[in-house]
Symmetry: C2
Subunit: 150 residues, 2 copies
């Protein structure tokens, strides 16, 4: 999907362009940004979930659109987990920084699952979307269990 490739490249370019810390003037700016990106992602992911759960009638176009936006958003939050942004209005656990490799693996797994969901959703088959949705939701939960405070 072009949108995925473009946003992935965009995110990579931003990450390379400057150290992550330099992207945010204050830790609270980084916190607000990453929470915002995750809110937008979860809104669109949740709309796919509502169809998967049968709470909303299946609409193939809407499912594909929402999954594409969720996937795009899934690339954005991670550079905002800058050192020193583990305090304040955040549920981030210290393990995000003390076990950075595990955190990176977890968020990469989520991005891959969101990417798969977006690809599958383009096909317009609800059963296939259901199959892809579960593992994507599981990656959200896994990361929250390990890296987000209650």
């Amino acid at each position: 999907m072009k949108i995925v490739a473009t946003l992935t490249l965009a995110a990579a370019a931003i990450t390379m362009a400057a150290p992550a810390q330099a992207q945010f003037a204050k830790p609270e700016d980084a916190i607000k940004y990453r929470k915002s990106a995750l809110t937008v992602m979860s809104t669109h992911f949740g709309r796919v979930g509502a169809m998967v759960a049968g709470r909303v009638p299946f609409d193939a176009t809407a499912a594909a659109s929402n999954a594409a936006i969720a996937e795009s958003m899934s690339k954005l939050p991670w550079p905002a987990f800058v050192e020193g942004s583990g305090v304040g209005d955040t549920k981030a656990r210290p393990e995000i920084w003390s076990d950075a490799a595990k955190f990176k693996a977890a968020n990469e797994k989520m991005q891959a699952a969101m990417s798969n969901l977006a690809t599958v959703a383009k096909g317009g088959n609800l059963d296939a979307i259901k199959t892809a949705f579960g593992p994507a939701g599981a990656t959200c939960k896994a990361c929250h269990d390990d890296f987000r405070k209650e």
Copy 2:
């Protein structure tokens, strides 16, 4: 730009798929969502602005990436200005709903200016980016002046 076309279509499809109100379970969800989308947009727009103002060295790739993300985000907030979401944790003025045509024109003008900035930024010329940035910033300010409380 493919990303623009894709996200524009995605946003249009979502808008068509269901009445805006049905997209959010509660008015506060709509408020949180639109503020989040605007936060992500303004973060990336601001990174272009930092280069335009000379506070950060010009990096053509980063400028293009940030402008592309800002443009993508500029499509998202509007369906979240649902009826009944003018109270609570929001600075939205009642004119958003009482003068809906003017609000729509203002946000369409902003989207067009962001789209232009993203197109220009792909060209990698700082002077051209400066020329496109000012009017885009002016559309943010105009809408805030008319439709956002102090």
